[in-house]
Symmetry: C3
Subunit: 338 residues, 3 copies
Amino acid sequence: MQFAGSHILSIGPFERPDVEYLFTIADRMEPYAQRRRVTRVLDGAILGAMFFEPSTRTRVSFGSAFNLLGGEVRETTGFEQSAIAKGESLYDTARVLSGYSDIIVMRHPQEGSVAEFAAASRVPVINGGDGTNEHPTQALLDLYTIKKELAGRGRGIDKLRIAMVGDLRFGRTVHSLCKLLCLFESIQVVLVSPEELRMPAAIVEQLRDAGHQVLESEALESSIKHVDIVYSTRIQEERFSSQQEADLYRGRFRLNQSIYTEHCEPNTVIMHPLPRDSRVSARELDDDLNDNPNLAIFRQTDNGLLVRMALFALVLDVVGQVDSHARDVNWYTAGRRG
Amino acid sequence: MQFAGSHILSIGPFERPDVEYLFTIADRMEPYAQRRRVTRVLDGAILGAMFFEPSTRTRVSFGSAFNLLGGEVRETTGFEQSAIAKGESLYDTARVLSGYSDIIVMRHPQEGSVAEFAAASRVPVINGGDGTNEHPTQALLDLYTIKKELAGRGRGIDKLRIAMVGDLRFGRTVHSLCKLLCLFESIQVVLVSPEELRMPAAIVEQLRDAGHQVLESEALESSIKHVDIVYSTRIQEERFSSQQEADLYRGRFRLNQSIYTEHCEPNTVIMHPLPRDSRVSARELDDDLNDNPNLAIFRQTDNGLLVRMALFALVLDVVGQVDSHARDVNWYTAGRRG
Amino acid sequence: MQFAGSHILSIGPFERPDVEYLFTIADRMEPYAQRRRVTRVLDGAILGAMFFEPSTRTRVSFGSAFNLLGGEVRETTGFEQSAIAKGESLYDTARVLSGYSDIIVMRHPQEGSVAEFAAASRVPVINGGDGTNEHPTQALLDLYTIKKELAGRGRGIDKLRIAMVGDLRFGRTVHSLCKLLCLFESIQVVLVSPEELRMPAAIVEQLRDAGHQVLESEALESSIKHVDIVYSTRIQEERFSSQQEADLYRGRFRLNQSIYTEHCEPNTVIMHPLPRDSRVSARELDDDLNDNPNLAIFRQTDNGLLVRMALFALVLDVVGQVDSHARDVNWYTAGRRG
């Protein structure tokens, strides 16, 4: 896979060496993301950020990642107000807006829309999520987090043991993560969900074809006993016929500190693509996990910055120059907590 | 006309030498807009972008133009939420917000509002469109596009032959373009519209007073036979009493590749202020023109960047310094298509 | 009080030396705010601006202040669209978003929300207003304006004579200003309001405990005779049972040029936290005061830029480096009016 000048629309084209190379570059972004060093390698470059669907986290993460490399961001948010809503084609929008920037990140509620936009764009386009289809940077940051969390234990992604919990049917992030896991070896995947929200058979098959061991279950507690990672996802109300039914199912897949202590191996890592629900009745990860050092959900979002910086540097082909446009940070960062 | 420190509210004050000087400066912005060079001449300057009416294209174009000169952009979008909506006067808003920036671009749905704002502003104000009144940078980029498109053929704006098609009654852009054309010589203008949407008599008179030849017509095909430029505009549904009536009229003024091939001279340039309608029933420029190299509609928006950069550089009086704050681009641009 | 790395949530922790030190630093920001000099001391730093409630003025002021120090701004506006609205806790939002920036400014309609957010944030947070609770930078810029306006007359904040007029019951800004005045000596405060909108007794008591002289009144004209400052505030319709009642009260507390000339000492300074109402029936400060050189309302907003720049420089601990990252402005500023 050639990064320079390419669109990043899907995890499909990523082979194992591509993923590993990306992660190596992401590692090199740490001093900048953690504000020990400042680099201005993209000083003068413009990111066009097109968010036709709200997403504070993803939008700010991409924007900050580009700023951290020295570039500027021109944002467009909202859908109703745009010319597109008035009947302009994605083709026209892409032709026009790609003249104003060096690279574009786009989020759009419709499947395939980002690819359609990219086909007409004159600059590289990164998919920031197109409906139920793809959100490649989320999948990459998830896998990068798994790698980093396990590295401290002398383990890698190969031979990983992971439980995925919650809505595995509609959860775009777990689908993409499974596809990425197929690039690695000898993984044990436990899929924990209500019957109605099981992982699509095609993805289970892909995992098995890759030589992985897949177990499906409806019981949380027995499923998280012998895994390195518990990857929890949100169960959305609208998937069920009533709130009562939703609450019933959600109740069975909630993780809290006492379940963790009783059932998980020590240091089992807890992940979640966020937002997690904070309503008591819908809490898939209880707030009493907040002080658990193995709760990696905010390290995930921090890693998102690194992965997005790495993608920008690769697509705009400045990897080799990042460190030569750098200097130490000169402002107060001592209070910054990890 | 003195650019330094002036408001740009209207095309009224522009004389022919002003237009020609602006275009010379716009030409000099090309290496920066095309990402061969980076200039930071306005590093530290702030553009206040006030868009009290949605306009993705214009807003991003102004913002990117300012970024390309090295400056920062602070945007305000939306109207309902602003203090103005709560009863604050444009005077107060202008006095306050002009303290936060070096130059302001403002778009507002009410005629005359930008001039009222500018009168109270402490920094130069550029009109980004005030209702049905003026949108001077659109007129200037249109004329600049005409100049550039014809230059390749050894021709200039003098002796231009142009057909304007569509809604000539309410179309702010064609009105302003006609006024600018009055600064030049011996132009043939063919005005093609439904009877109900004819060019206002006052503007036709202005064109004739300038010595230009004006022809009015309701027939598209015969009108585009001997022109250098076909300038098409959108016919909006709300101008008619019913959708049927709108469709009837729109049907008669649609241009597509087969009409173009049969009726136009080779290399006739097609322009449009955008957005063009992409609904099949309302398509004033058919998608089958997209591969026609004479379709200049996206060169128009690219030229908008150049004209806006030139205006910023002139109004902030840094024209002579642009090239001395410059260096080569260091990131990947090879994939950038014209 | 230690500024470096601290949250600025309230004026509570400010002691007199803190306020005086802040104002000294604000003075040093003048050449940058007035565009005689450019400093890039925060080049590479990112401000996360979270405005969960609309506020053009405050948002742009903070953003421009950060830009003027060389930093970048990533903004989030609107509430409905955010993950918070979908049930995400402030804790999660803070943990995530504080990973994307070096400092955060947040405005939120709910009392206490900014403090809750700050408790989970990994970087310093400045309160940009949390409902009826606090808006510390407004109070500080008001006091800074008083200091600057009086300095030209060889007077200080000690022994100040000030009239506060309008809605003193719900007016967050006058409450905070009173608390700051308690840090100084021998001040005369005249509180002018309708009976229903009187200053809360607790604040009156605080002023008296600080040794200040407090007078309450319902008569505008006699109350503004012997003061240095008239601080006017808006009387909002929703405080009354009918528009008639609101108009009646507002009528009695309006200041215009003829009342000013007849009743005020020469050079009495007029202040207002803005927005002032511009509807004739609701005008607390008449437009005929606009040419009065003692109308300081736009100097207040200009001072807001200085105070916010000073806070950023103090919290990020770059005060000593501001001038060493500076150069002269190279663009046109001659037209800039004070």
